[in-house]
Each structure stands twice: as structure tokens, then as C-alpha cells.
Symmetry: C2
Subunit: 425 residues, 2 copies
């Protein structure tokens, strides 16, 4: 990557963000009738009409709008959108009786699935904290702190550490197996780390820093191998568990018909691993904690992704594969491209290893040429290895805008840091 | 032990309780000027004047009075005393700003040590829950539930499981080493199990049963050996730690001048082990959980105490010794006699092993003849092996009445159950 490449990449991302990606969302999000956001769009960017407002999509959009505003985008509109979203969350998604946020509402804001799913609660904390950080409106942090306390009371699991993840409306744990009540997952714990980082960055509270440190320890010592590859699922006692599909999901992960993986105990996600790596860097930065004892796991995640995850001929990053060996699912999912782009730049800025810049370049080109559906402005959800769309919607409850907008904002900042720091040739 | 012995033992305990032990306390406890209880008495039973009201002594006395009332003693006076104590706790020991209860007050009820020590908080839960259970006054359970939630928020340790134990007034953890902030102990976790059992018995709340199950799992899998002997201290990551003396203590444990034990990594307490065994039986009973998978640890605790702890020539039970070998501290402490008496009867009722009745008999005789200071009505705190008093006070902040009254009430009930169940010869 030359200096000219770096400038060009940044220019391309800026144009994409301000001319395609943010306009896509600012033109479509607001539900002025029922409050909150419309988040279902077909391949042409038209409202596809699903009668649902998911906790994930509503909170992620609050996050996205707040984050974009804090980084100087939107000229005030993003902040207004965020406030509009927070109002809907507090008035409709919040459970005044038991606390916490419902999993699924209909478009009019009536609860449809009242379960308390920790993955969703973590995004509520993330979004509400980021909202206060970006706007100064204290309502966000107040609701985030209250939810954080409920999670400590009802979700923390004190026999082995970590958190239970799936609960009924009144915070009784769901049953075992597909109900998910007897599992702990990397996905949820990693997003709790992300949420606690934002919460601590906004509150400066000792308690929030403490729980952030604890979850980092759990993730690094139990949920990642020493080589920096993540293990997706665990039993309550933190023994790795065969990866199964849950009744309540927040993505369209590929499982066989029976809900099993072909390789349920040797499977790791390049996107999660590298996302974890850069989120961990961010967390350590907020904690002002030395990175030294975490370097092995961070570099390990990047090295594994470069060795097995990045498609050296077509560009982009594959979906998943074993802990040591070639990828087994060669399709290219939108969020994994976004997270690995961010993580490779963060890794370069920390370690100065030029191979991370080359990895970024292999992703950047693939995303610009294949992943972005330029006629709408958003990204395709899933491509095959060659870059042909497999799924074609622009948004649904599990996609929306958090990965794409965050990555583009992040990569613009990090490319600027690369340019500031040293003269590339 | 013959049927006649059993009847005689029960009669002796009844006389002791109603003519000596309860009158000792009912004559002396009330501080009608400043509220709460006077809990410092010299060997003659006179107020020894220490200007302190400890959280431990106040809560334990609330427990004792409530427990005695619930079991039919005191003719209403015990209930009045308990209410008097609860009022003092809520008005003076409770921290309205940060929640939780102060560690030490002076006699007038002003806070002296404002630290939040989990051992003390666990007795607050135990006492307040038992108070509501015994009297129906909802103030106790309400305060216990609020405190339980604070403990989940501030004390639970989510990287490895269990709870941190020593906190400043605002719930920041204390420093490492003698401040105790980097240790987890069997003592505190066992008493949390006891407190959560009482809380669940009073509330029937799913959350309370869940946290009770979790702490049982932690105790059985990490804090006890498979042979049923307890390990006193651990690092935060639950590796056994050399036993050190903390700055804040709640007993007069025997350490060398430098705060170390002669055998800091191979030391176990017969009293704690057997107390744990019967408290675990109680907890499983409240949870309606099968005892089968816990039989090994319960029987192990009793067998170890019989083999190494009980003084076959003089009667009574020693203080402590290694996990496998003869006792090293041969003195006889009041609370260990009380807990092992209770535990041996509970063990006999569960397993039908006559040796447990013989062990009870060896304790009963020693207590009646040596441990009880009949001229006052309370028990000596510490005797040497032969039964001569080493310490001579009848009560101070760490002694009071909970072990003695609870054990006597308990043993009367259990001896009745022994008599009801079968014809001893």
C-alpha cells in the first residue's frame, strides 16, 4: 500500500459514507407515525413491509446515528434521529414492570416477543451510552446504568463466571438446548465487552471498569484459544460445547437442516476474531491498561485471519473455518468484511506490521467493487466467493447499519492516523 | 447412645436453653437508651463497656431472637427484641447513600468503620430474612432483598465466579493482601449460602434459588476437596491461596505474630466443614433438590471430623488440622462444638450411621460439663484441650449468641426427630 493508495482509500470511504451510506439511512429510517425506525429494505432500497421492530435494529440504529454524530457527520440530523430512536426505545421497548427491553415489537410498538435476550440488552447499553456520549442527553446513560445493574443481578452466573444469556420476560432463565438457557457464547460476551467499554467511556464509574476488566479476563482465558481464535459456544461451566442453533437468533448463520454445524467443535469466525481484537484494543485504551499481556491473542486473531480467512485471489474474507486449517465456508458476509477492515488497520497502528495494511487493501477493493450495492448505497448481506449476491435484501432486523457505518467511520479515522504517523512510499 | 440417653440429652438442652441461655440474653441485650443491643459481657456476665456495636453482633442477635421466636421460645419477648434490633439496623447501620450496612458503629449508633464487608452483609441478609419469616413483618425481607441485589451488582466477580469480599463504603474493592480485596474465602461463601437459604425460604423467589444453587456449586466444586474438607482461602481466580490474616476480622483466629499460619496451605476447620455439611443439607431441603450428588462431600466432612477432630478421651472437637492427618490446634472453641453437634445429628438423620450419634454424645457431654459456664448461662469462648478456659469473656462483637442458641434449638428438634423415627435401645 502506497501513500497514494491510502489517500485514495480514504477518499473512497468518505464519498461512500457521505454520498451513499448515510443518505441511504437518513432518507429511509424515520417512522414518523409510530416512532422508532423502519429497518426492512429490499434490494432496491424499498421498504419491504415486515411488521416488526427488533430490539437489535432499533438499538443499533440509535448507536449508528449517535456514533456518526459524534464523529462529525450528518450536520445535526444524526443526533435528531438518535433522539427519536431513544424516545421509542424508552416508551415502547422498555419493560416498565420487570426492567430491561423486549426482544421484538411490531411496527406500532407493541411487544411481540417479550423475552429478555442478553445480546439485545448489550446493544441497548451500547446504544444508550453512546447516545449520551454523543449528545450529552443524560437519559441514555441513566437507562444504560439501570440496565447494567439488572444484568448483574439477573444474568451474571456466579458458579463459573460470565453471564447467562436467554431469559423470559421476568428474567427467569430459558430452558436448555435450543432455548439457550444452558449455554454461554463468545458472541454475547464479546458484545458485552463492547457495551461495557462504551458505558465506562461515558460514565467513568469504577464498577463499569471493573466488570469490563472481568469480562476481558473471561474472554481471553476461556473463550479464546491462546492462538487468538474464538470458540463459539460453551456450557454453563465454560467447557466448549458443540455449536447448536438457538430458537431465538439474531443473524442468518448457516446451519444444516437439523440445526447442527458440520464441525460443531472446531469452528471459528474470522470476523468475530478480528472484531474482538480491535474491540479489545479499544477497551484496553479506555481502561488505560497496558496491551502487552494481550498482544498474543490480538496478533493471533489477525494472523489466523490472514493465513486462512482472507481470499488472496478474489479479495474479501471468508465466513468461517477450523482453528487450524483452511476455511470451510467460503462465502463473504457483509459484517465480517467491515470488522476485519477495521481490525487490520487497528492492528497496523499498534504493531506496525505492513502485512496488515496489505490485508486491509485486499478487503477494501473487494468491498468497493463487490460488497457495496452502489445503486442503493448499502452493502449486500452475503456474497458467494466470487462476489455474486446470495441474499439480496439491503436491511432486515439483523443487518441494518451498525457494522457498515461504524467500520467506514472507523477506517476513515484510522487511515488518517496511518497517513499522519509516517510517510508511506 | 440409648433411648434414655437421647431423652436425657434433650432434657438437658431444654433446661439449658430456657433456664440459662435465653435468660442470659433476655436480661442483658436491650439498649433502651441508644437502641440496638449490648453485646459485650465479661466472665461474670457484666457489661464490659466496649464502645462498639458491630454489624455482626447486631445482625446475629436479630437472627437469634427471630429464630428462637419462630421455634416457640420466649413467649413473645424474642419477637419484640428482634423488632428492636431491626429498627436499629435500619436506622443506624444502614447506609442511606450507598446502600448496604456499615461494619462498625459506636454504642450511640454512629458509624465508626464504614467499610462494606461481605461477611457482615451476609449476616444482614440472614437476620433480616429470618426476621420476616418469624414475625411476618415485611420490612426485614424488603431490606434483605435490596441488599441481595447490591451484592449481585457490586460483589459478584464475573471472571471466575463467586464474590469479592472486602469493599470501601462506596463498594470499591479494598486493596490486595491484608486488605483482603484479592481473596475469596470459604467462610464468606459458606455464610452467603446460609443467608441465601434463609432468603429463599422467606421469599420463594426464583432468583434467590438460582444464586443459592450457584454458590453451592462453587463451594462443592472449588472450595471443598472431594473428601469433604474445606480450603480456607483462594485467590480471585479460585486457586487455593496461603491463609493470611486480614486487617478486618470477625473472630479471634489464631495466627502467628506475622499474621501467618504454620501450615498456610494445608489447614482445614472441623467446625466449618461440619457446619457446611448441615447447612448444605438445609439448603438442598429448601431447594427440594436431591442430596445424592452431595452425599460424598457431606459424609466426607463428618468422617474427617470424627477421624481427626473429635477428642476421643476428653470429648469435644478440636480447632483445626491438615486435610489428612491429626489435628494441629487442640483447643476447643465454642462455635465449633455448637456446629458439630448440630451436624452430627443432621448426618445421623440423613444417613442412619450410629457413629454420628456417638460423636454427638462425645460433644454433648463436653459442652454440658466444660463449655457452658453455668453460673452465667452462656458458653466459654475457648478452652484448652482439657477444658480449662483460655479466653473468659461471655460475649464480644464476634461471639454473641447465634451459634449457641441456634445449635441448642436445632439439637432439641433433631433429638426429637431421632426419638420419633425409631426405637433406640
Amino acid at each position: 500500500m502506497t501513500r497514494a493508495d491510502c489517500i485514495r482509500y480514504r477518499d473512497e470511504l468518505r464519498s461512500h459514507l457521505t454520498e451513499e451510506l448515510l443518505p441511504f439511512w437518513l432518507d429511509r429510517l424515520l417512522d414518523t407515525k409510530h416512532g422508532g425506525f423502519i429497518t426492512h429494505f429490499d434490494e432496491h432500497g424499498n421498504d419491504s413491509g415486515e411488521d416488526e421492530k427488533s430490539l437489535i435494529a432499533q438499538t443499533r440504529t440509535v448507536f449508528t446515528m449517535s456514533y456518526a454524530h459524534r464523529h462529525g457527520y450528518g450536520g445535526g440530523r444524526c443526533s435528531e434521529y438518535a433522539e427519536h430512536g431513544v424516545r421509542f426505545l424508552l416508551e415502547h421497548a422498555h419493560d416498565a414492570q420487570y426492567g430491561g427491553f423486549y426482544w421484538m415489537l411490531d411496527r406500532e410498538g407493541r411487544p411481540v416477543v417479550t423475552k429478555k435476550i442478553l445480546y439485545g440488552q448489550s446493544f441497548a447499553i451500547y446504544a444508550l451510552a453512546e447516545y449520551t456520549r454523543a449528545t450529552g442527553d443524560a437519559r441514555g446513560l441513566e437507562a444504560a446504568e439501570e440496565l447494567f445493574e439488572l444484568i448483574q443481578i439477573y444474568c451474571s452466573e456466579t458458579a463459573y463466571g460470565g453471564y447467562l444469556e436467554m431469559f423470559e420476560r421476568d428474567w427467569r432463565p430459558c430452558g436448555p438446548g435450543a432455548e439457550g438457557g444452558d449455554r454461554k457464547t463468545l458472541d454475547v460476551h464479546m458484545h458485552l465487552m463492547e457495551a461495557f467499554t462504551a458505558l465506562y467511556a461515558t460514565s467513568s464509574a469504577e464498577l463499569h471498569s471493573r466488570k469490563l476488566r472481568e469480562i476481558i479476563t473471561l474472554l481471553v482465558t476461556k473463550m479464546f484459544t491462546p492462538q487468538g481464535t474464538g470458540i463459539p459456544q460453551f456450557n454453563v461451566d465454560l467447557r466448549p460445547a458443540p455449536q447448536i442453533k438457538f430458537d431465538i437468533v439474531w443473524g442468518w448463520d448457516r446451519f444444516a437442516e437439523d440445526g447442527a454445524k458440520a464441525n460443531p467443535l472446531d469452528n471459528t469466525s474470522y470476523g468475530h476474531n478480528v472484531e474482538f481484537a480491535w474491540l479489545l484494543q479499544e477497551a484496553l485504551g479506555e481502561l488505560r491498561e497496558d496491551i502487552d499481556s494481550y498482544k498474543a491473542v490480538i496478533r493471533g486473531a489477525l494472523e489466523h485471519a490472514i493465513r486462512f480467512g482472507i481470499d488472496q485471489s478474489h479479495g474479501g474474507v471468508y465466513v468461517e473455518g477450523p482453528h487450524n486449517g483452511p476455511a470451510t465456508d467460503l462465502s463473504k458476509e457483509f459484517w465480517q468484511q467491515a470488522e476485519v477492515m477495521t481490525g487490520m488497520l487497528a492492528g497496523y497502528l499498534e504493531f506496525g506490521d505492513r502485512r496488515y495494511l496489505e490485508a486491509y487493501a485486499a478487503l477494501h477493493g473487494f468491498v468497493m467493487e463487490r460488497m457495496i450495492h452502489h445503486s442503493t448505497g448499502e452493502w449486500w448481506p452475503l456474497l458467494n466467493r466470487n462476489g455474486e449476491p446470495v441474499w439480496r435484501h439491503m436491511s432486515h432486523s439483523w443487518k441494518v447499519n451498525y457494522h457498515t457505518v461504524r467500520a467506514v467511520v472507523n477506517c476513515i479515522e484510522r487511515l488518517t492516523a496511518v497517513l499522519d504517523r509516517e510517510a508511506l512510499e
